[in-house]
């Protein structure tokens, strides 16, 4: 049975768009139920304090207020916020949904108010009086480790959450053999995910049916359902979770939050539908943060540029408590620390530490952007030290295409790649040689062009269950209706990635239908089979494969039915144009709908065949997939102001087979621009008292349209052998590959000033300082201003 690819690979317009562009889609806050009440939280203004007392009387008696609850009121009713990650000898730091005796970060909820409308709830929250006894906060992760530092969790003797080590190859020997050891401390700063839709939860409990329905802006409806049931102590069948339209996640909605559990609890406890919508300030304070690692990288190199060994020590700031995957994320950095290079000996030591801040967790890329940043910066340092071109140093250390599958000393098996090819393509597309010539010329004029490279590999399609905290498979059900229309139910829960379209493309090709014949359903635990969710660039590679396999099951059955009716060998039938026909004689055919109808009417089925037409598949991937690519960034630094202007950005990505190039481009663009945010603009800044200074969008800058030039993208295609579709995943590629390219470009621009490293974000003031210092030290070029007067700026 041949499958014609009439839709796979085509830039089909998205099926989800009509509702979104007309304002007809429903996000959680758009829902309204009769008698719905609104929840507002009272949150800690202190980073570290003991709660002396909470007086709720004034709030309780305010008109329109239904209830005011504190941690004490919840006591027995509820468990703690779950963490699915387990590491050896890891200390537990689990958070009660409402703080009881102590608060450990600014924004931690201490009480909640339920009222008839949002405005009343907000007013009443102001009337709750909490008396705190402030304690000394621990903000700096390095100081948190110091002797005598205040301890966050009094049941332990220090703030170390865990230590994790990984060693492969003979590291000692590698460093002993080295001609040079390149060493650098690097900070991968704390970021705030800023999905444009803040979190929101609506919950409704029907006692007659004993059914609790929770609508949440989440990436993982099924896992959330399991966890809500566990925390509330009710059977899982009581809970029904729906993720309606979700306005972006980037990992920040890959979690189980106190507010989700509490709102669900309130609906049961108070017998009214409840709604809570996060404000942006709450989102900044109390939705997970990302990154926040300090690494010391050491590379043992030979004079010719061969990397012999790598040592990396990472201090990971986990925040005050664990969220769903908090402790796990830095270990992904460890696993991916070799990047796309053949490094025979590796040692990674990670220390996770508690501080009085919001938890870090999986933010787009989750551990891999950090790894890529560390290794890609280090490669540039090697190039600078050995006075070699950064492209050559990289090329020298790539494994050859024929070496795949390639086993890394960190224990991974890279599925397939051709790093040379993507690097060549990126150099060609950017006209690298000419750029270097232009750079030299401009430097003579006192203008500072910088060219930055990054060649990355990332780990996607999370993942084999053996390597995941709670299942790495994905499910799909294909249900063909008697009329011949198809429902594809996926356990993945897309929220912007476009699987309603790409899965329909796969289904249309496999069944010989049009995308309009297919409807992709997701996000509702009562409708779709148990699934894991959308994160880790897994929706297509894992979820799509489940869909593909379920489709082949349906198709096989249909072929058997059609073969029986047509009296032909099912293997010789083709599905196309809504027909099933004999390949050698297309006139001998049956309408698709007829064959389907036969499955339900059940009069002409082959003997012994079950009626109906539905198949489910749980796909368990045998490995991760490893997309890769090469990026080139070109910046100009204004030496007078320190401003960085991004002039060009070239990205060549390889995400395996492409189902819909439009969607892939969109993912790449979005990822690169988020990366640009990390490289140039974003940083969650807490002051020494643990106050979040970047507490609103007025102080935390994310990229705007005018910060970005037209991105120049291209692809190489190396299919993954791990799944039948050959896809690898692309959800995080941009975020992983771009940050180091951008910073490498800035450092390259500043090379004439003797700069070899610069921590992110590359703030203009920091750059200005570096330039000024170099000039004061003398002997450095004095520049005329560069780039003055340009309209576009990366500020």
């Amino acid at each position: 049975m041949a499958t014609a690819t009439r839709y796979i690979g085509r830039p089909l317009k998205r099926k989800e768009d009509p509702r979104l562009i007309q304002g007809l889609a429903h996000y959680v806050d758009d829902l309204r139920l009769p008698e719905m009440h609104y929840v507002a939280f009272v949150r800690s203004p202190h980073a570290h304090a003991r709660i002396r007392s909470i007086d709720t009387t004034r709030a309780q008696t305010a008109p329109g207020v239904l209830a005011v609850l504190t941690g004490q009121d919840l006591d027995k009713a509820m468990g703690v916020i779950p963490c699915a990650a387990q590491l050896p000898e890891m200390k537990l730091a689990l958070r009660p949904p409402l703080a009881k005796e102590r608060v450990l970060f600014v924004g931690e909820p201490v009480a909640l108010v339920v009222a008839a409308d949002r405005y009343t709830a907000r007013d009443a929250a102001e009337l709750v009086e909490v008396e705190y006894e402030p304690l000394t906060p621990v903000v700096d992760p390095e100081k948190a480790l110091a002797k005598g530092a205040p301890v966050l969790h009094p049941q332990y003797s220090d703030n170390v959450a865990y230590r994790w080590e990984l060693e492969g190859g003979d590291v000692k020997a590698a460093f002993a053999k080295a001609d040079k050891v390149i060493r650098q401390r690097m900070v991968n700063q704390r970021l705030i995910p800023v999905a444009m839709e803040p979190r929101a939860v609506v919950a409704d409990y029907q006692p007659g049916e004993n059914q609790l329905t929770v609508w949440s802006s989440t990436q993982i409806p099924h896992l959330l359902r399991t966890q809500i049931a566990a925390v509330l102590g009710v059977p899982e069948y009581v809970v029904h979770v729906i993720a309606p339209e979700v306005g972006g996640g980037f990992g920040s909605k890959l979690n189980v939050y106190a507010e989700e559990v509490l709102v669900a609890h309130l609906a049961m406890r108070l017998g009214k539908p409840m709604k809570w919508t996060e404000s942006r300030r709450e989102n900044f304070q109390a939705t997970i943060h990302g990154r926040d690692q300090i690494a010391t990288m050491e590379l043992a190199v030979r004079r010719d540029g061969t990397i012999l060994g790598l040592r990396c020590r990472i201090l990971a700031d986990l925040g005050a408590y664990y969220q769903l995957l908090t402790p796990l994320i830095p270990t992904l950095t460890g696993l991916m620390i070799c990047g796309c290079y053949k490094i025979p000996a590796v040692r990674v030591e990670i220390t996770g530490v508690f501080t009085n801040k919001m938890a870090t967790d999986a933010y787009r890329g989750a551990g891999r952007p950090e790894a890529t940043y560390f290794i890609e910066r280090a490669m540039d340092l090697v190039a600078a030290e050995l006075k070699k071109d950064p492209a050559e140093i990289r090329r020298k250390n790539f494994p050859q295409p024929k070496e795949f599958p390639y086993a890394t000393p960190t224990g991974l098996i890279y599925d397939s790649a051709n790093y040379q090819k993507s690097l060549d393509a990126a150099l060609k597309k950017s006209n690298y040689r000419k750029l270097r010539a232009q750079q030299a010329k401009l430097r003579r004029q006192g203008r500072y062009l910088g060219i930055g490279l990054s060649t990355y590999v990332e780990i996607c399609a999370m993942g084999p269950s053996s390597a995941m905290p709670a299942g790495g498979w994905e499910s799909a059900t294909v249900r063909v209706e008697p009329t011949g229309k198809v429902n594809v139910l996926t356990g993945a829960s897309p929220h912007g990635q476009g699987q309603e379209t790409s899965f329909a493309q796969i289904a249309a090709d496999l069944l010989g239908l049009e995308p309009d014949d297919i409807r992709v359903v997701h996000g509702d635990t009562a409708v779709v089979p148990y699934g894991i969710g959308t994160f880790g660039s897994r929706a297509t590679a894992v979820g799509g494969t489940a869909v593909y396999t379920a489709l082949t099951k349906v198709r096989d059955k249909l072929a058997a039915i059609a073969g029986h009716i047509l009296q032909e060998d099912p293997k010789r039938l083709v599905f196309r144009d809504r027909k099933i026909f004999l390949k050698s004689n297309p006139a001998k055919s049956l309408a698709f709908a007829e064959a389907v109808s036969a499955a339900y009417v059940a009069k002409t089925l082959p003997p012994g065949m079950e009626p109906g037409l539905e198949a489910t598949h749980f796909f368990e991937p045998s490995n991760f997939t490893f997309p890769f690519g090469a990026h080139v960034a070109v910046v100009e630094v204004d030496a007078e102001t320190g401003e960085v202007h991004l002039l060009r950005y070239v990205a060549v990505d390889d995400c395996g087979r492409v189902i819909n190039p439009l969607l892939v481009d969109g993912q790449v663009h979005g990822g690169i621009v988020q990366s640009l945010g990390q490289a140039f603009l974003e940083e969650a800044v807490y002051d020494e008292n643990g106050q979040l200074l970047t507490g609103e969008l007025t102080d935390y800058a994310i990229p705007r349209a005018w910060d970005v030039p037209r991105l120049e993208t291209a692809r190489t295609v190396t299919p993954s052998p791990v799944n039948p579709l050959g896809v690898k995943g692309v959800g995080e590629a941009g975020t992983i590959g771009a940050t180091p390219a951008l910073i490498n470009a800035v450092v390259d621009a500043l090379a004439p000033f003797g700069v070899r490293h610069l921590d992110m974000p590359a703030r203009r003031e920091r750059i200005w300082q570096l330039i000024r210092r170099a000039r004061q030290a003398g002997s450095r070029p004095t520049a005329r201003r560069a780039g003055a007067g340009r309209d576009r700026r990366v500020r």
Binding site: G23, L24, P198, R704
Partner: protein
């Protein structure tokens, strides 16, 4: 103490007694049930709440419902009618055609900001588009397809006028 306001929203006159502090975005969403207009911040920065107020793009989260008394308002739900061809507005078409959205949360505001731009400047250059959308944040798309969408709409509208 309520204040009675009358607003023409998407061609329909609406009259309600509202609390003076009611934000216009909440009036649209909670009172009129027009939930296509979104809220993404409280600091007037994200633009998700953008609507047309007397033809001008404004952030409806930074407008009191009482300030809109007497105004003519277009939200995403009413935009198609402005397109004048019974179908989608060309800007909506552009967003669909060019994949100008992913999660769609910023999209209604983005579209309305683009509509105002094209009214004032029917043939904007890329830089002008990027500048005109400075008040609208998108975390998903990286903006490139949004720029393409606006250019698509500009062409389409120019062709329609000829």
């Amino acid at each position: 103490m309520g204040v009675v306001i009358q607003v023409r929203v998407n061609g329909k006159t609406r009259q309600h007694e509202v609390e003076p502090r009611l934000l216009f975005v909440h009036y649209l969403r909670d009172v009129l049930g027009l939930t296509g207009t979104h809220i993404g911040c409280e600091t007037s920065l994200c633009g998700a709440c953008t609507v047309l107020l007397n033809g001008k793009a404004v952030k409806s989260c930074t407008l009191l419902a009482v300030q809109a008394d007497g105004a003519e308002v277009v939200t995403i739900e009413g935009l198609a009618a402005l397109g004048g061809n019974g179908g989608l507005h060309p800007v909506q078409e552009g967003f669909w055609e060019k994949h100008g959205l992913q999660c769609g949360y910023c999209t209604p505001g983005m579209i309305l900001a683009a509509v105002e731009l094209l009214q004032a400047n029917p043939k904007p250059k890329e830089e002008e588009i990027r500048r005109a959308l400075a008040g609208n944040l998108c975390r998903c798309t990286g903006y490139q397809h949004i720029v393409d969408a606006v250019q698509f709409a500009a062409k389409k509208m120019a062709a329609g006028k000829r």
